[in-house]
Symmetry: C2
Subunit: 424 residues, 2 copies
Amino acid sequence: MALVVIGGVAAGLSAAARARRLEPSLEIVVLEKGPVISYGACGLPYFVEGRVKDAAGLIVYTPERFRQERKIDVRTGAHVVSISHPRREVVLESGAHVAYEKLVIATGARCDTSGITGCDQDHVFTLHTLDDAERMRRFIRERRPKRAVVVGGGYIGVEAADALRRNGLQVTLYERSQNLLLREDPFFTDAVRKQLERHGVEVRTGINITAIEPCDMAVVAAGFKPNIQLAADAGVPVGRTGAIQTDEHMETGIRGIFAAGDCAEVTHRVTGRPTWIPLGTTANKTGRVAGACAAGARERFPGIVGTSIVGIFGMAFATTGFSAVQARAEGFDPVTSRIEGSTRARYYNPSKTTVELIADRGSRRLIGANIIGDDTAGGRINVVAAALQARMRVDEFEQLDLSYSPPFSPVWDPLLIAAQQLKL
Amino acid sequence: MALVVIGGVAAGLSAAARARRLEPSLEIVVLEKGPVISYGACGLPYFVEGRVKDAAGLIVYTPERFRQERKIDVRTGAHVVSISHPRREVVLESGAHVAYEKLVIATGARCDTSGITGCDQDHVFTLHTLDDAERMRRFIRERRPKRAVVVGGGYIGVEAADALRRNGLQVTLYERSQNLLLREDPFFTDAVRKQLERHGVEVRTGINITAIEPCDMAVVAAGFKPNIQLAADAGVPVGRTGAIQTDEHMETGIRGIFAAGDCAEVTHRVTGRPTWIPLGTTANKTGRVAGACAAGARERFPGIVGTSIVGIFGMAFATTGFSAVQARAEGFDPVTSRIEGSTRARYYNPSKTTVELIADRGSRRLIGANIIGDDTAGGRINVVAAALQARMRVDEFEQLDLSYSPPFSPVWDPLLIAAQQLKL
């Protein structure tokens, strides 16, 4: 009997690889419906940009390598159409049956284009698969579009706008809500907007695009949906977020069936409640835990705190936890402080960085941060992420023993200054 | 009655400024024996290097500014020779008495040249005060030494070697122990040595210099001692580390007398025991808490975890907590993992970074890290510092929700890879 994994990108392959490491003799089968496995989906905008020259550069492993080096039976073009848990088997589109003892569902998510007509035209793209990216790049090279419309101001939309602009296109980005990068925060959104506009991208928020008209080209990145139909049809419980419910071992409501990656819910450690924030890092981590537990180990995935970072024309926009607006919606009583600090001593050509911290008045816990600046924003948001995971109070956080030396930081790190200014 | 602060550099001025902010009407007197206050002592090597052109560039505040903007009576050239707590007064060298209600001792530390003869020669320098640095720079400019000997392989010694080498001198660095940067760790020390040698600094460890002979020039940075005599003479208890004992409010064993900065002990949060690691960041933080508590507030300083970073010819060497050797000496059962990782996605010109994590087998807690690499080492060591402060276990740490985007990090951060490889 075998461990069967449905999906051969980040979560699925992490699960398979981890199970193999823990159980050298286990039979492991990965069923991927697409033609390739293990590509770095987060790299797609950089392939469109042209920085990644060759699509092969985004593929980390080939099925052959998984077969030979790890003895994992990876099958591409293997589209699972149903799961029969009573029989412990999955059925492929080809009609073939594959038996399992333990199952990991890593079916990912998809671009949601349902509210927009005209998405099937040749000049309209999503940016979710390697095939999407290759098609888009070919189109740009061959058809030389002058203008592009990007629908959606989330990560993919903003990264696509950046990539297209760097290819010389005139870009207009439309976003349905008033927020960019999914952050309900007027200041942060405004900073993102200004950075896009400074580099020639026209930004229009509060506009709901319902149809793609004829134009040079359009990229639709207006929403993301977890692929849960296969699981739901098999009776696997789906949570309020719309993704598959999991426990801390990434096991679903049906024993023996695990879920990981963009199709699965995880715990938000700031609230303790289920959340769905599809990101590659979480896909890898949950895949790893699902694979370990499916192979019989008892590892746990404690959850996420909602950390992300995006580069926009060379500037970093990083967030973790909740913005003040989001925190209020989650039932917190948020207090914020926002400062502009220096990244280094003043004789080391410092750049400016904006640090906003959000704390909860009642518990005095830190519950979120927005950081904008140079490359150092990643390290700073990660410090806050660690503090959120540890449920650190502000009085603890403001005494963190952070490193200091003039080439690398100011003596009072902007994180500590922002913490001192939280009026709890 | 007044708050009197002895010492006008980092800790003393932080204490005075914080007390003023909390108590607008308090009389505050700062007594500094030197001619200037508030200079960035950590910037002295960069003044020697020539990057900081003007000594004035290292002075953050003048006494006049403190007097005018904060109504703090800052007196330079005011050398306190004794404290009479029964009379609540300090006595200056001039014979003047200054009465206090609360006292903050921020007398700092000094270079310990006691075991080395010949340190009083014109070509021999320490690098501790602005005056030291100015004298050294003038000497280099006027006498054009060709070779320099640096005695001591701690932070100051290594930074001085870097600064002198950049001025074109042939530099030989001697260190008494087998360790560089005070880190008892053969791998880390070896990496520091290689980086120094790669840039032309000759490094000789295990050599105890007891006399400075005639030579072009010598810098003695062979040890540091807390200035505790004044406090000890007044009956203030001194701890085993040789520095002034303090509680979490930075109050000494005598009520009403506080101590902060390089003369004071603090709690090491990894062991829970007193420690003495004189650094500017800790001086500022402890000064702030001492000032607040002396002014009647009840703030606390929970302690440090021993974080530091040094740049050596453009490469960062960062540590926090304990090395394996140090951990064993502290009673832990250390387990280590060391990996070489990438700082970014491979299509973003990543550089290599070495991450070593140290955990305790019994408690499974993370207890230290050494990180070598580019500018991102600071952010990564700070994440570990936050984890140490939170007493995080390895299984928690390896699931940290760290930010990821190709321009800023690889999908598996080197910190998480190193944590996964800890064999507990």
